[in-house]
Amino acid sequence: MLEELQTRDAFLQRVHPTLKLLSLFTVFFFMIFIYDIWHPLAVLVLTIAAIFFLGKVPLKLLLILLLPFALFGFSFVWLQVVFPEERGATVLFYVFHMPVALENIQTGVSLGLRAMVFASWSLLFVLTTSPVSLVMSLIQKWHMPPSIGYGMMAAYRFLPQLRKELVIIRRARQIRGMGSKPRMREWKEAGVPLMAGAVRKAERTALAMESKGFDGSRKRTRYVQMNYKKTDVWFTAGFILFITVVFLLPLS
């Protein structure tokens, strides 16, 4: 399902992955200085709208994915109310003789919303960027060493096999009468053969790469070219406008 979303024919999916990554870090940077409610709320709504309209991601899926973060964000609120750095003056009500101040609720909600903004921009990136295009553009535009990039891709492709190996290990243990249910202290007994298998596979992969003439150098032809296009200009312009309006111009 994720793959289908990442390769959908929509605006955000066509934007160069490095630009999306850069925009993600930019938003993180500007959010650090925000302690009011309205900025993060505006960014959150705009981000969700962008993913929905420009990335054609179903709204329902987005909200479901953000739900755990709402819970995570709520922990900021109660922590802020119970253990604030400075208790606010406007006491709204008392819970077990503990004053609950408006200012602290505001700060808590702001921090909680900030966590949700981080999550929503991360979703914008993850839901619209395929792993292959990400690694390819990092190699081609951000000078990631090809040996690391292709090594990562090989490892990523190996992951689906892990589950199968885990089943095999479990059955092997079962047939030897070591019990079928994994217990807490047995994490090593299943984890070690699993990791040993991964290391063996890695060595074989490295050998195969070397024997096919891969030496990690940049001088090679590429099937997938990750070049900047017109879409990227639009995205950059839109993003700069967004940052200027939300963060650089005073809202109130």
Binding site: E85, F158, R200
Partner: protein, 197 residues
Amino acid sequence: MINKRLNLRDIVVISFISAVLGVLYLLWVLLGQIVTGVLGPVGGGLMAGFWILAPVICAYIIQKPGAALLAELIAAGTEVMAGSVSAGAVLVLGFTQGIAAEIIFAMFFYRIFRLPVLMLAGMAGTSAAFLTQYILYGFSQYAGSVVVFMLVTMLISGALLAGWAGKSFTDALVKTGVLDRFALGRQRREGQQRNAV
């Protein structure tokens, strides 16, 4: 040590180990979110050490400069590729945690990989995670005692979950013989030969 630079085989092996750990990191995030939601960020601090396993394990196996940082970056990258819903935070944390662990190994000139050093690397990793989250999630707005308590739980977690558990797992892994061509496996074989003589 003959060659101190990471070669292709080192890189691919680090990739595979870190990719596996990256998937476990993701599962741990789910667990961490539940714990954090119930106990608050302080309780979540106890989970933090797990995310420093990749640099500890890979540096311990490969024992070359850059292994720890690369491992943590690849683990973070795998999380993002597998569809982590907190991709941005994961990447920032991956970088800071990896750097912190790397600094500890560099301080010992990549020569000493005993338990105290690995525990120190784990603690450095979690303190970097603490600092990063302090800035990202605005911890300055909370009472000092809570923040200090959070740092302490994270340090304990770094020493135990990353340092101790990471070493104990890798020591079990090296006995299988798959690591014989790496620094850690070589040391084990040399030890055996000495015992045989």
